[in-house]
């Protein structure tokens, strides 16, 4: 277990170092998310009350679309020079590689959200009564999305149609997560900390547990050529 954790850290550190040097994933995701927020703010902002209704959907659509851009490039470093084979032959095993890639994507998506959320708050004149709860619900949604997305990004690694197929395969699976995310964010932005919001957040945590376990288990099989 200790060795697998060490390998996980080594893989994550490598992904962060490569990203800091190439700036491919974060730059693409960040610019795209910024564009979405700006465009949506011009398209939908009329008054504060309507903004509070629309903004949760806009926030989650931004996470989903920008996150998908990152997913498309997540395994590119491994496939460009065939490094994936070397990773799969490491003693910690393919599942450790999968968890590391999913966590790397979660990290990049979190950074993107950390940059985008304040802009959304400013452009839509939002008041956030419980910021930590909102961040927590966002994080719960991103965990499930990142693990499911990473699994299918790995599955489509050799496909020429990857960029088209990935959203087609991933979005139907994460629709429940998206609905729960929008509902919980709506409640939290309205200052509601009641049972309904709690229920949606619990649903997301349940989804996370199920799909983190399932996708990690399935990853091994999906990479056999």
């Amino acid at each position: 277990m200790k060795t697998r954790l060490r390998t996980l850290v080594v893989l994550l550190r490598k992904d962060v170092l490569v990203e800091l040097r190439s700036r491919e994933i974060l730059f693409t995701m960040g610019i795209f998310a910024l564009l979405l927020v700006v465009l949506f703010s011009f398209a939908f902002y009329t008054d504060v009350e309507r903004a509070r209704v629309y903004s949760p959907g806009i926030l989650w659509i931004t996470v989903l679309f920008a996150g998908t851009l990152g997913l498309n490039r997540l395994f590119e470093r491994e496939t460009t020079n065939g490094a994936l084979d070397g990773l799969l032959l490491c003693p910690a095993g393919p599942r450790t590689v999968f968890v590391a890639k999913a966590l790397a994507h979660l990290l990049f998506t979190s950074v993107m959200v950390a940059l985008t959320l304040p802009l959304l708050v400013v452009f839509f004149h939002l008041e956030v009564p419980s910021p930590w709860a909102l961040l927590g619900s966002l994080f719960a949604g991103m965990v499930g999305f990142c693990f499911v997305g990473t699994l299918f990004a790995a599955m489509l690694v050799g496909s020429r149609m990857r960029e088209v197929l990935l959203p087609v395969v991933v979005y139907p699976l994460v629709v429940p997560l998206l609905i729960a995310g929008v509902k919980s964010s709506s409640g939290l932005l309205a200052g509601d900390m009641g049972a309904e919001v709690g229920g949606w957040i619990q649903f997301m945590i349940g989804f996370d547990i199920l799909f983190v376990v399932l996708s990690t288990w399935l990853f091994d099989m999906m990479l056999v050529r």
Partner: protein, 234 residues
Amino acid sequence: MRGPWRGFGVSDWDFTRVEMRGVGRRHGRTAALRGVDLELDAGTVTGLMGPNGAGKSTLLGILSTLMAPSRGEIALGRHVIRDGRAPSALRARIGYLGHTSGLYDDLSALENLAFFARLAGVGEDAVESRAAQALRSVGLERFGDRRVKHYSRGMVQRLALGRLIVVGPRLWLLDEPTTGLDESSVEALERLLQDRKEAEDIVLVVSHDAPFLARVSDRIVQLANGRIVSETRP
């Protein structure tokens, strides 16, 4: 226990013989391999030759356990694999150099080697020295801090061999390792293969370079149309 696998409990996973038994593999309607039987023993270098499309890379892919055979099985010591799913501890003893380098362009040579050493479970105190040693053994010690994307084709190939050296596998699978190498690098590769023989490793080299294979191999297997058609001892 040999190598950097302390902590993984892989001493049970060591092997001194590799066998392919009736291995076949189809890519769609095309049969890439048709019932191949092959034995590889510790302390030997086996050369594999054949025309394009003979199934050489597929054979290496199956031996690496990264590709599943359509029929037949491979045995790494007493561990038999039929579906391309091998235990990680066993896979850790396989070094595979395919048509690509397996390196990260945005990392320096030393960073690449240190990364793969850590991945192989080399202790943190030995990582730097092991990476530097591997870099020296492929003659790239002066370029350790240079990023791989600034390397020439031959330098990348040498560093790719360094990636295997730093991991120190039992089974070495090399697909066209002389590609892009100059004369002195080929000689260094020949020395490396000799060292691997003396270390009782198992080596399979695919190459179109017949004189090179004749120099390094204990036997040369000829593959054609997915079947082994001859076996010679140079």
